[in-house]
Symmetry: C2
Subunit: 539 residues, 2 copies
């Protein structure tokens, strides 16, 4: 394997960062933003998408210094190490291979003689064959009914990403890419929370006889997911339906060594491995199984192609020609030089309604770290808080603070020329799609340039930075590229901050304490006090 | 009317605030949190709820100073002015009467000889009668079908609050409070976004003949909502269903002077007035119509009673005995003394899945202001960024940053002893509900106390503050109290910051620029450039 020689150092040890801290653009953002700049500050972002950063408060010196910083922190070299199978998740001693699930962007990666690209392809092939049999009716429910519903049972990365992607493509359901099969695919639901009302509510909507459950847990030990499996099996047993065999309605997505890897006991099992982190697993079998069952293999294949295209484009070392790297570097500038503690993600696309929730996990779980990859506390801010809702909805909600609050919140806009369904109406001389995008254009300019008014309550200070990712339509390929754009942005930022973006030790303490509460032994008095307030029956 | 004599001054002109800035608790939060403190730092929060603030980093001196600050800023007196009908929305010259919708907590408020409490009651009575006729089948669709579906068409406060409340009580649907009527109520959907895919997707799920639409716009001029009305009417016209009369499937919730106030043209119209702000309108006819149609009048009445109970409890001047005031004051301390720029709202209740999105609007639109009520820029931070998702889901997502990020994010937990549906399963010796609440207890302690480990990557610094609102069950009464708790908290904070929490001028500039884009005239080149990138067809 081709392993570049890299060094790891903290952001504040970087010479470029020191220079960056001392530089500010001479002119205000409101003055900088011109039509010429909008044309110039734009770069291809794969999958038919473009990334426009004209409304970010950077000038050519800022960009040069960000280029130096990216070079100094060797982010592209480190990305190559990821692609080539180096152990980049150092804390857990694991490779980081979610890119390999969608294509070969680096050298071949093998483990114990097995080519892992082939392994991932094999699993997706197995999912495709399985889905085809479900769609054709060759595989049916245990009482003979066709499967028309699929329920993903998983939490965290097994839920947020797949759910956001499902909603993003839901409008593609039933539109076949060729005329050979006009049968609608499966409708999907998701059960994630250990709150029993989550599973109970979903189960109240579905017909158990025609429902396939996908149990998703890499380790096979996720407590919420195993509990919800028990919940589902219990419901099937209590349903009184003659001949209903619960395990014949369940497929597992898990690792080969997990307790759930029992294809004989369940209807089937599809595999991932330890190198696919939960929040990066949307393009693996974790997302692929439910999406292929819902939409068919053609759309999921296009989605993977879009993601792979973005992965390849992300190898470009010139930040002005690499959208995800540029997005990452501007984010570091806003976080560590300008001191903004949050980022809003605002898609002007209802289909992306849960995409911000996925990015919230992706970003905050990856980069919400206070120690560097050697375990030393860092002396600078790392990952920001990420939040967002679709526009125009947000305009009638929290945008008030974004426009006129005391603090500046950088914004990441996403938009598309065309709607997905193509059903529209003209009202007051414009279509809804035109209104949607007119609002998006207006918001970028309003945030950047503001507007003065003799009534200070109606004045807008401006100077509020945003960027825009846009394309023709949110189709499967664009969605894949969009997902990979953000995954790679987050990874690049982790390299700049010298942290491990691929582990999540911060989730462990709560789990440990919860187990103590549920166990038989003594617990700390304050823990017992809260548990008692919440009426937890300790065993 | 009983109008206390009040003065308005900025936070940084307050003597108590100067003292507050100089005081820090002597001991760390991790040391402060004991079982005794948990017992002591708790107060009733109406509706059967309790507010526990033991895991906030405050001591008795902090609380005394916050009491002084609340007194100095005369927050209770100002709340009395709100209740008594003073023009507290000064920018728009309006009274602020959402409390009056749920009960009379102050003096009678009249306008042009009309008692406004009676007006709001009259409207809710009309909604109740209308809903009863819909439920009994006395009023049917224009082709004779029973209405079984209701679609709320509105945006911002006409969407987020009602939607969050609908989801919160959805599990109550079909459970009658008496045995007289076992017929399920209407299932609700919501159309908000001007993105045509939003309306098209909802319309693809419903039967137009059995669907009632509620068109909600106080002014009757909200562009998104009128556009979506046109979308819905167009779909009905194109449906080809003989005899289908679109306007006979639509009721309006609007002000009496609005262009939508045409009960003859539509099936009916219910009224609010200018004194019910959008984000405060969940308990008015804006939320009441859809919730009464979905759940029946008994549950909505209980919801209003819970809210009124909280409104009355919020009159208590002693911060240690007034949960919403205490929550507000601790929030000010965290924002303006400790400098935390955000707050996470984490309900351990799947039914509250969209409650954080509603609070995000409520808080950020109310207090995201940079000028005081006189229009002078303030020299301190006002409203924070608010975000959140239900637990335990969030534990597997962004909690990583909350536990181990470089910055501290204060947390607002919400929990209940019992689930809503009561369907549960034992797995590994505990129920799902017990697991849910064990996790909640564990998180509070984990955030506050942390945990050290020889591996710094597995260490938790602790010192991360949280509070807990909890009760027996998320029933309609508790939900009303919960909503009012946060509404009043936000209002109190606005008084402390000396801002107007009841207007939203920050939404105007974007609207103006969007209209320019959609109009025929010239627009600024940068606006034209973005519009062209997004393929907006200018008329």
């Amino acid at each position: 394997m081709n392993m570049p020689n890299v060094q790891y150092k903290n952001l504040d040890a970087s010479a470029a960062f020191q220079k960056l801290r001392e530089h500010r653009p001479e002119r205000a953002l409101s003055e900088l933003l011109t039509a010429e700049r909008i044309d110039k500050f734009e770069v291809d972002a794969a999958g038919g998408l473009r990334y426009n950063y004209a409304a970010k408060h950077v000038d050519s010196t800022t960009l040069d210094l960000l280029q130096q910083l990216a070079d100094e922190q060797q982010v592209i070299e480190k990305y190559r190490l990821v692609l080539n199978g180096e152990v980049m998740n150092t804390g857990e001693g694991r490779m980081v291979l979610h890119h390999l699930v969608r294509g070969q962007a680096g050298d071949a990666v093998t483990e114990d003689g097995r080519n892992l690209r082939e392994f991932y392809k094999e699993q997706q092939g197995r999912v495709n064959k399985f889905a085809a049999k479900i769609h054709s009716g060759e595989i049916r429910g245990s009482t003979g009914q066709l499967f028309d519903t699929v329920v993903q049972v998983g939490i965290g990365g097994s839920d947020l990403g797949p759910r956001a992607l499902y909603l993003a493509l839901q409008n593609y359901q039933g539109r076949e890419t060729n005329g050979s099969n006009r049968r609608p695919r499966l409708q999907a639901y998701f059960i994630s929370n250990v709150d029993p009302d989550d599973a109970a509510e979903v189960l109240s909507r579905i017909n158990l006889e025609s429902t396939l459950f996908i149990l998703v847990s890499k380790s096979g030990t996720t407590l919420e997911t195993l509990t919800n499996e028990a919940f589902v099996v219990d419901a099937m047993k209590k349903s009184g339906v003659p001949g209903l065999q619960p395990k014949k309605h369940i497929v597992c997505v898990t690792s080969e060594t997990s307790p759930l890897a029992k294809p004989g006991e369940y209807l089937d099992a599809f595999y991932i491995d330890d190198y696919i982190g939960g929040r990066y697993s949307g393009s693996s079998a974790v997302g692929g199984t439910v999406l292929t069952l819902a939409f068919g293999k053609e759309y999921f294949t296009q989605f993977l192609e879009g993601a792979h295209e973005a992965d390849t484009a992300s190898l470009e070392p010139d930040i002005r020609r690499n959208a995800s790297l540029l997005d990452a570097m501007i984010g570091v500038y806003e976080r560590n030089v300008l001191g903004y503690p949050y980022t809003a993600v605002l898609p002007y696309s209802q289909a992306l309604s849960r995409f911000p929730a996925h990015l919230q996990q992706l970003d905050m779980e990856s980069n919400g770290k206070r120690v560097n990859r050697n375990g030393e506390p860092v002396g600078y801010s790392t990952g920001p808080v990420v939040f967002g809702e679709p526009g125009t909805n947000g305009q009638h909600s929290f945008y008030q603070l974004l426009h006129q609050g005391t603090d500046i919140v950088p914004v990441q806009f996403i938009g598309f020329h065309e709607s997905q369904l193509g059903v529209d109406v003209k009202f007051e001389d414009s279509t809804s799609q035109d209104k949607l995008n007119a609002n998006l254009a207006a918001q970028i300019v309003a945030f950047a340039k503001g507007s003065s008014n003799s009534n200070p309550n109606k004045s807008f200070p401006g100077g509020r930075p945003s960027s825009l990712v846009y394309g023709k339509q949110l189709n499967p390929r664009a969605l894949g590229a969009l997902l990979a754009h953000f995954e790679n942005k987050v990874m690049f930022q982790g390299f700049v901050w010298n942290i491990n973006s691929f582990d999540q030790e911060g989730v462990q303490l709560g789990k440990t304490l919860a187990k103590q509460v549920l166990g038989k032994g003594d617990v700390a008095p304050e823990l017992a006090s809260y548990a008692s307030r919440l009426s937890v029956r300790r065993s």
